[in-house]
């Protein structure tokens, strides 16, 4: 059996994943000039890895029933990765973080890349919102049967 709650859960997981991605992008943009981090060295660009997981929170599955809902896949953030690209070196001998040769290591963040990723995350988020709206509409009109 299937119900609309699984649809809501799935779209909700999609929204949560895209929000996590937005957080990573915001962090990258905010730290585009950060040269000092607790780990040492310049800020490293962060990215999230998405992973699909079976929707196992359904009522039927909790009760152990043979439920086809495992065919529906939620999405989750499985990992936050740090970009391995080499930092950008700029010559600025007066900077406190400059090395012996006078070069400062700046983060490997490309603002254009972050902006396009941000647009993509926004659109995906909106797609999930649309799906939730459709689920809600359908569920509410099903409640009107026979009225």
């Amino acid at each position: 059996m299937s119900d609309f709650l699984s649809g809501l859960r799935i779209s909700g997981s999609g929204m949560a994943a895209q929000r996590a991605r937005m957080n990573a992008i915001s962090s990258n943009i905010a730290n585009i000039n950060t040269t000092k981090t607790p780990e040492g060295g310049p800020y490293r660009r962060k990215d999230v890895v998405f992973e699909s997981t079976a929707d196992t929170q359904s009522f039927g599955q909790i009760l152990g029933a043979n439920d086809p809902r495992s065919d529906y896949q939620q999405v989750q953030v499985s990992d936050v990765i740090h970009d391995k690209k080499a930092p950008l070196l700029k010559y600025d001998p007066t900077h406190p973080d400059a090395n012996e040769e006078g070069y400062v290591a700046y983060p490997n963040v490309n603002l254009m890349e972050e902006m396009t990723n941000m647009m993509q995350a926004t659109r995906s988020y909106e797609a999930n919102v649309q799906a939730i709206q459709a689920t809600k509409d359908m569920a509410l009109s099903a409640l009107e049967i026979g009225r």
Binding site: G7, S11, G14, Y72, Q73, R123, A127, M138, E144
Partner: protein, 134 residues
């Protein structure tokens, strides 16, 4: 044998159930539109539903007497969910086409609502028949 709820109501109810499954599958595809190696899923039920309802009247035995049992028409209870084969694979191994999924979502939602409308009309005519003596 006469039923208060006829074959059409059963068909509409099954179609609602199947559309709900398709809705969840589409929502799942949309949520995973950017998950690497996720393969878009698809549900087919129209043919199975048509066969079960015996639209052409070729499979079931016809009932010519009130005591006859109708044979050959069984309601469909499970949908066939499979990985959509005719899609392009992205660089990250994902096969979701977000535009297609969004239009499938809208289409499915409209057809769900139209099935609901039909059920409501059926109910309304039943109600009308019940309340006619008042």
């Amino acid at each position: 044998m006469s039923n208060l709820f006829d074959k059409t109501t059963d068909a509409l109810a099954t179609s609602l159930q199947m559309r709900q499954i398709r809705h969840s599958v589409t929502a799942s595809n949309i949520a995973n539109a950017e998950t690497p190696h996720y393969h878009a899923k698809k549900v087919d039920f129209e043919n199975a539903l048509a066969a079960a309802l015996d639209m052409e009247g070729t499979q079931g035995l016809s009932t010519t007497h009130g005591d006859h049992f109708a044979i050959g028409s069984k309601p469909v209870t499970s949908a066939d969910i499979y990985e959509n084969p005719d899609v392009a694979v992205n660089n990250d191994g994902n096969t979701v086409d977000l535009e297609k999924e969004m239009s499938a979502l809208a289409e499915n939602s409209i057809l769900y609502k139209s099935a609901l409308q039909l059920i409501n009309k059926k109910m309304a005519s039943l109600k009308y028949a019940i309340s006619e003596t008042k």
